[in-house]
């Protein structure tokens, strides 16, 4: 059996509203040399080229899903003076999203989205430690439209704040934060409200930002 190789070059003009316009597809059919079994009768192998063949224009409609994503390593929120290291976190023994031990660092929920990926990028940070304010002490002061960036080396994604909400712990909209979404959101969570020595803080502040880059 000879091998046939089909080399084609297509030029495509795309237009959403008009029908796709084909400029043309020109194909050359080349016949590769026949590879004979070694014990075949010795004979001249011929190498031929078929006549150039113009096929009917075959248009391949392409859709690209390529995205540039990264695990965020640094969080910057200039308006409230945050420039923090981000650590990946999972869940604690009680099934809650975890938070880094170091209270000047921010946790990235590794079951959620990476930066640049469709979905919720979820970050947690401490309001305070035993002595005083921690990394997210001023999270509730964020205003709508303010800028938040996630970085890793030279990779950077910018978000803008679209909501700052305070909820009773039992009312935190977990589905909006942890379930899949077609949006590209950043969710920043910290504590707020009255402090119960056994149960911890009774409220949560949730800041939602959407990707602008």
């Amino acid at each position: 059996m000879g091998r046939q190789q089909l080399a084609s070059t297509s030029f495509v003009v795309r237009n959403k509203t008009l029908k796709l316009l084909f400029i043309g597809t020109l194909s050359f059919l080349t016949i590769a040399p026949v590879v004979d079994a070694p014990d075949a009768d010795a004979k001249l192998t011929t190498v031929g080229f078929a006549d150039p063949l113009v096929l009917a224009a075959t248009e391949i409609d392409r859709q690209s899903f390529r995205v540039d994503t990264f695990i965020p390593k640094r969080l910057k929120i200039p308006s409230i003076d945050i420039n923090a290291v981000i650590q990946p976190v999972r869940k604690d023994r009680l099934g809650r999203m975890d938070t880094p031990t170091k209270t000047d660092e921010v946790g990235w929920y590794q079951y959620g989205a990476k930066a640049g990926e469709t979905g919720n990028v979820v970050l947690s940070g401490h309001l305070d430690d035993l002595r005083g304010p921690a990394i997210f002490a001023n999270l509730g002061d964020l205003r709508l439209g303010e800028s938040v960036t996630l970085q890793r080396g030279k990779k950077i994604i910018a978000y803008k704040v679209v909501s700052v909400e305070r909820y009773r712990l039992e009312d935190v909209p977990l589905a909006s934060i942890f379930a899949a979404t077609q949006a590209q959101r950043l969710q920043l969570i910290t504590c707020a409200g009255p402090y119960d020595p056994e149960l911890g803080y009774e409220d949560r502040i949730v800041v939602t930002a959407i990707a602008t880059t």
């Binding site: 959403k16 509203t17 075959t58 391949i60 409609d61 392409r62 859709q63 690209s64 899903f65 390529r66 995205v67 994503t69 869940k91 604690d92 009680l94 099934g95 809650r96 999203m97 938070t99 209270t103 929920y109 079951y111 959620g112 990476k114 469709t118 979905g119 947690s124 940070g125 401490h126 309001l127 305070d128 430690d129 035993l130 002595r131 005083g132 921690a134 997210f136 002490a137 712990l169 039992e170 009312d171 935190v172 909209p173 977990l174 589905a175 909006s176 934060i177 942890f178 379930a179 899949a180 979404t181 077609q182 949006a183 969570i189 910290t190 504590c191 402090y195 911890g200 803080y201 949560r204």
Partner: protein
């Protein structure tokens, strides 16, 4: 959206009284809605006669709505029109599970296709399925570029089972079932480990809106809200209050003494 939040708020309030709230929301069922009817207008989605989603257009896939497990009636109405029911369906949903309800088909034959979304995740693997919701497309195969089909002979309305793939980036092709020509090339489909996906084929091969693939992540690894405080500020705050009270008290006492002295004078 506001109404959605208020609906959810109302539901949460109603059920907070009866159902103990678990830390991570696993006592709820999660439902999202896809508008995949190419010629249907923007719609509102009603859940048990309350509006849950407003103004969803073709290709819109809503966030998951968190609902108590149970039986629901889902109605789809043209956006802003409270009277006309375009299509309705009864849904039975279980706690801890995720569902997608899709309005599919041309408006004349519109129907709701409901499916359960896989929210069990495997490290380093992606579970993927394909939903054929393009009313005028033939039965299709979905295959890696030039390879054997991963999903075969899916007709309109078919939702495949989930298949498990290694996490990675794939170039895929949608082909007419059994054929090698390509209806749609899907380039650079990035599948993250530990996530599950549905590729919804929507739109029209002949006409607008055009055929395309909507890639959605399914379910979600739910968690409780993080514990993000150790009380340092609360103690400082109460200390401050004590201090403030002490200062006020001293000032009041001082003022009283001052007044007494004046009166005495």
């Amino acid at each position: 959206m506001k109404k959605l939040m208020s609906l959810l708020g109302t539901l949460a309030l109603a059920f907070a009284l009866i159902v103990p709230v678990s830390a991570d929301g696993h006592d709820k069922a999660m439902v999202r809605v896809l508008h995949a009817s190419p010629d249907a207008p923007a719609v509102d989605v009603y859940v048990n006669e309350e509006v849950a989603v407003e103004g969803a257009e073709f290709k819109a896939l809503t966030d998951y709505l968190s609902l108590p497990a149970g039986d629901y009636n889902v109605e789809i109405k043209p956006a802003g029109d409270t009277e006309t029911v375009v299509v309705a369906a009864d849904l039975s949903i279980e706690a801890g599970k995720f569902y997608t309800a899709a309005a599919i088909g041309q408006l004349d034959n519109i129907e709701i296709a409901a499916m359960e979304d896989d929210a069990n995740f495997e490290d380093g693997k992606s579970k993927v399925r394909v939903a054929h919701f393009s009313p005028d497309a033939p039965a299709v195969d979905v295959a890696p570029k030039g390879g054997d089909p991963l999903f075969s002979n899916l007709e309109f309305k078919a939702v495949s089972d989930y298949g498990t793939l290694d996490a990675g980036t794939y170039d895929l092709e949608v082909r007419p079932a059994g054929a090698t020509d390509v209806v749609k090339a899907l380039d650079g489909v990035a599948l993250e480990g530990g996530k599950n996906y549905t590729a919804f084929a929507i739109g029209l091969l002949e006409g607008e809106p055009a055929f395309e693939v909507l890639l959605a992540t399914d379910g979600g690894e739910m968690a409780g809200a993080p514990a993000t405080g150790q009380g340092g500020l609360a103690q400082t705050a109460s200390m401050n209050w004590l201090l403030a009270a002490a200062v006020l008290g001293a000032a009041a006492a001082g003022f009283y003494v001052f007044r007494r002295q004046k009166q005495d004078a």
